[in-house]
Symmetry: C2
Subunit: 337 residues, 2 copies
């Protein structure tokens, strides 16, 4: 009672002919094909992916490993990946994983290995050489996003450079009392994003012969808000500019500053990183990472290996180009002292 057998019988052909007609591979006469296709759709027949996969070894399914779902950059990235995959006829299996967890080990040792996915997109996860080896041994293309990983194609922005650029931008406006709102360094997100952005800030400040002060905070809007309230309370010691580690933190800082009666950008310059969808509303100067495009590009790289199997040239780490977006939050800088 195999389903394709039913279609075949109804169309008066053999299973193999039905299969050829429906999959498009192999020779079938036009008239036969049309008949089979019509019968199949009339019956509402859809081939079982399991059976097809078992035979072909292709699942038409891609696993996506992601650390956050409720943060703007990651949600947007996921959207880009999802739409690109659907467009290519692939399904997306989602794994939310915090780095450094037992869960993560499980994922790589078990979930990803049971021949359910053709490829993997690993976001914000610094794969170990062992993990890379295990996955490539299975012949599964992997693309990493968020940092460089030896041996596989990766997509990432230059976090140090981005942070340095933003700091230089603020310096060029004449600021000297600049503070960096860094992510929690002990949290140790993979690839040390927080640490790298801190480093970019420090590099720029050192080059300008200025003292680089920073404070750590949760990488969220409430985090930036709370920290700004603490840091901005004392008018005599407050910085004239804040270089925030990400837009969420920057936005929290702006809200807090306004609550304290501090005008932004007149009395306080704020910059972020991400081009969050609220950035425009707050006139935030930031760096556009184009997560949507990163997602689509990642899928393209996957498809290069999967469909056209040309892994060679592309395998090197790819520094994704970003774009600085200057808005009013830094436009009118007060030149202090």
């Amino acid at each position: 009672v195999s389903a394709i057998g039913d279609v075949a019988r109804a169309a008066g052909v053999s299973k193999s002919t039905a299969s050829r007609a429906l999959s498009g591979r192999g020779y079938v006469s036009a008239s036969t094909r049309d008949r089979v296709v019509e019968v199949a759709s009339a019956m509402g027949f859809v081939a079982s992916t399991n059976a097809a996969s078992l035979k072909s070894g292709q699942t038409r399914n891609v696993g996506v490993v992601i650390p956050f779902l409720n943060r703007w950059f990651f949600a947007e990235l996921l959207e880009g990946i999802e739409s690109a995959l659907i467009a290519a006829g692939y399904d997306l299996t989602l794994y939310q994983v915090s780095p450094d967890s037992e869960q993560r080990r499980m994922l790589f040792e078990y979930f990803l290995v049971r021949k359910r996915v053709d490829a993997i997109v690993a976001i914000g996860i610094a794969l170990t050489p062992h993990e890379v080896e295990r996955l490539t041994a299975l012949g599964k293309p992997i693309v990493g996003i968020g940092g460089e990983i030896a041996g596989i194609a990766t997509l990432s922005i230059d976090d140090v450079g981005v942070s340095r650029t933003m700091t230089e931008h603020v310096l060029a406006l004449g600021h000297t009392r600049i503070m960096h709102f860094a992510g929690d360094l002990t949290e140790r997100m993979d690839f040390g994003v927080h640490a790298q952005r801190l480093r970019g800030f420090r590099d720029a400040m050192r080059a300008a012969d200025l003292a680089a002060s920073h404070r750590e905070t949760a990488f969220t809007t409430p985090g930036g808000y709370a920290l700004a309230h603490a840091v901005l309370a004392d008018a005599t010691t407050r910085p004239s500019a804040i270089v925030a580690g990400c837009d969420e933190v920057a936005i929290g800082a702006i809200v807090a500053a306004r609550e304290l009666g501090i005008r932004v950008p007149e009395d306080l310059s704020v910059t972020g990183v991400d081009d969050h969808d609220l950035a425009e509303m707050f006139g935030l100067t930031t760096v556009r990472q184009s997560p949507h495009r990163q997602g689509k590009l990642a899928v393209e790289l996957i498809m290069d290996e999967l469909v056209r199997s040309e892994p060679a040239g592309r395998r090197s780490p790819l520094a994704f180009p970003v774009e600085v977006v200057v808005r009013s939050s830094t436009a009118a800088a007060s030149v202090s002292v």
Copy 2:
């Protein structure tokens, strides 16, 4: 060269014994089991889900259909669902679908039918009777979230009631010039959430013998921001309270109000719906929908049908209980006129 055959040979047993030892089903002596398990893990063996599914008809995979990824409520919901599924040993296949699209038809006619998922969680999608029938005919449990759907278990909040309650809350504070910031009614999200929240507002206003005025906006923070700027500009006509259709809109309104020098809540009360993670920062009075818990509950319902196969009692629509969270944004209401 079947993989489990390799394990079996290496362990000196037959394929079926190996299968029993690894799956845990059926009788195997403890010593044999241990040996097989050890050999398998030494070889890094993981059973092919395809083959297992083909045989058992169970995919241990659940499809989740969701309209947005980058909105707080939906992202949080997805997180809840994901973690509950992983905990149950299930994978999650993600489909982002805008209601009313060609894509959506494809999804139900094709993607969801190819025996790749055991069950479906449909979020914010008003399934048609035809779609429900097709899916239930396949014996796949479905749980809907966001509105009632005939014939399947659904989880939703009482949108009319929620909106009425919030309006009554504002009325009780003594406000008379209250405006509703509604979602775009032409956008027609499934289940008419926007229209229902508007109705709850109108019901409460009518009961209080007050004129119910509302304006439509995109259901986003920038949307609420732009609308508030337009509505609040004229001090003589501005409302003393805004009942926003969701927290995103409410937050945008608060930011705009503050930019205009309007104090919140002293000069303007604002309420929302969702308990967005920025709600606390803005002191926003809102309704907590607990998306995380909704997600976990949805998975539980799925598992009831899937594992314990007891679909009966639960199938009726379930009104998910919400909680009103009063914060400072409505605490000190100015009694107008």
